[in-house]
Symmetry: C2
Subunit: 367 residues, 2 copies
């Protein structure tokens, strides 16, 4: 469909210096370390680990995560989950309020071919839609109640509301209440624990089973032990890491597995360089930063603005030797998950030598 | 390669109410009006019009623009230009400093099958690379000198530098100096005219032909007549328009041809709604706005934050009836060009009835 099949994708063994820019490249050693470190930590807390595939959208990486001990995966979209089901993933949680008969008809088919499929709901409207779609299904759909524990996005607002929705799910034809889910704010452990514990107590009083308590977020991954009532933790960004994760102290500079390779295409003035990685390669996500990524080879340089295919770099405070036109650099993006969403394929390497090119198979799965 | 072929893309005749969200939809009537209005204006200034395809990346729209009188198209990437050459476009300007032997080998092939192909350069390094690649080519490459007229991105800094680079291009084997190109700041007409005029005068003194003077930008499209020395104007955003173009006074609300269809998936509190269009549908481009797009059906509501698949909407100042879970809305994005870059296909409609689904063929052409 696209022209990318004709592109000069590098063969294994190619040095990164020969990879055309702009291109995100993934360090295999750091990737494997990130997967192992997170899994070991969460396992040691006595919890299941459920990686969110939004960050990579690549089935081969999901299989690395599963081989490392992950219980299953986390998706946001039905069509995204379909890609991973095709690749053999059989335990999938879709953390999204799914609406609309066409989407739910697909969900119903997906439920039949995935061993454990769960979705979430935070309103009676969502539950009613799910029930309409699954009323006559041969296999009921497992539904978690999404709880707002302070992040201010989706979710029921109180444990009482959670209990009420759990009852509605169990009363709905074709559905089964399976537990609680939250995406908390950073450092939200105490609030999550309080919300889960109160809800579980009221459910227990009513004799309602609540086997799954799913907590999440990469920023709190290594604090997931602080929520004793959670049975599992979900995280996505940790797999590649990015500038925001370093700033948060969640990883070190040596844990950054994704860099965006870029080339200096212009040096219009003594203090200005322009890279060939713009908002269509790095995205405009600032995540609280005032500039658009960090250039490994140019300490002190600042990417002050992005246009679609250019990054403008201020070299005024650059400590190192100034780059020439043609100089290749590595940019650490502010936010890795949105970069993956821009590329059809990504290049992997070990010590600067290409190991594989992976199709970002779930990119473009918008529903 | 992706799963999108299996998706339930709507057939012509489908009402927009049945199109799954999130999805950008293009109003055929407004699209045609935008194309005609811009072409008429630029033609009336006695200039050629060269639409930038970065905004749509769809060959069928390029053909609408060409049928309306456009002289050719503008691209940023070699692989992007290849898609449009495949679709029969035979006058292409790539406004980019192209570097690297693999890329330039492709450019050399492209030059043989496109009647008029031009690129730009702003440094001796870029010119040397182009000359290396084209020294033995049977058809010379036409090169414009990119001039920085105040936008602070790429480009030579002075008319003297432009003349020096023009001479270097003409002295280089396989290359032909063909004129000047600039991407000016908003309201930059006087500076562009001054830069072009001074450069042209010095080139004339040296007997160097300078047939093309290419000016650009949608924000100054309807002021392109204020640069008499320009022979052509380039613009991309005008074709769909967006919130930033309305703010700039370059179009009215009725000229917005792209909306992102979205659905309210959660109403967690009386003043909060959550849409299913996040940064992976709208991008994080703010373009000076403090919020993330305008919701047509909810005047006064503000999209205060985006996460990847959610938009959080503050309804505090919403004038209209508050939406329910399941309510469908249209979002006017801050910046249309980056939205196109996220979707493999887009849906077109006339008066709310689907007319066609176009593949965004040049999306993913990163080189």
């Amino acid at each position: 469909m696209t022209k990318t099949d004709d592109f000069p994708w590098p063969a294994p063994g190619t040095p990164l210096a020969d990879v055309l820019t702009p291109m995100p490249v993934i360090d295999e050693v750091r990737l494997a370390n990130n997967i192992a470190r997170a899994q070991e930590y969460v396992t040691a807390q006595g919890k299941a680990f459920r990686p969110h595939i939004k960050t990579h959208k690549i089935p081969a990486i999901a299989h690395q995560q599963l081989a490392s001990g992950a219980v299953g995966i986390n998706c946001q979209k039905v069509t995204e989950a379909e890609v991973f089901a095709d690749a053999g993933c059989d335990d999938i949680l879709i953390t999204y309020n799914l609406l609309g008969s066409a989407r739910l008809a697909r969900l119903q088919k997906l439920n039949l071919r995935v061993n454990k499929l769960r979705v979430v709901a935070d309103s009676a409207v969502t539950v009613a839609g799910l029930s309409d779609a699954f009323a006559d299904a041969s296999k009921p759909l497992a539904v978690l109640v999404e709880c707002d524990t302070g992040a201010g996005r989706c979710g029921v607002q109180t444990p009482d509301d959670a209990v009420e929705l759990a009852q509605a799910i169990n009363a709905a034809k074709g559905l089964r209440f399976d537990g609680l889910m939250t995406y908390p704010p950073v450092s939200g452990a105490a609030t999550v624990e309080d919300f889960f514990r109160k809800t579980m107590a009221r459910l227990a009083d009513l004799g309602i089973d609540c086997p799954v308590r799913s907590n999440g977020g990469s920023p709190d991954l290594f604090a997931s032990g602080k929520v004793p009532s959670a049975t599992e933790h979900r995280a996505g960004t940790y797999v590649y890491n990015d500038r925001s994760m370093v700033r948060a102290g969640e990883c070190g500079a040596d844990d950054i597995a994704m860099h965006v390779l870029a080339t200096v295409v212009s040096r219009p003035t003594p203090t200005r360089a322009v890279l060939d990685a713009g908002s269509k390669a790095l995205t405009s996500d600032l995540l609280g930063f005032s500039d658009h990524g960090e250039i490994v080879e140019l300490p002190g340089a600042r990417i002050t603005s992005l246009s679609e295919e250019h990054a403008v770099v201020d070299l005024t405070d650059c400590a190192g030797p100034l780059p020439e036109v043609g100089t290749r650099v590595r940019v650490i993006p502010n936010h890795t998950c949105v970069v993956s969403n821009l590329f059809d394929r990504m290049v992997f390497h070990k010590n600067g030598v290409v190991t594989r090119v992976e199709t970002v198979a779930a990119r473009g799965t918008v529903w």
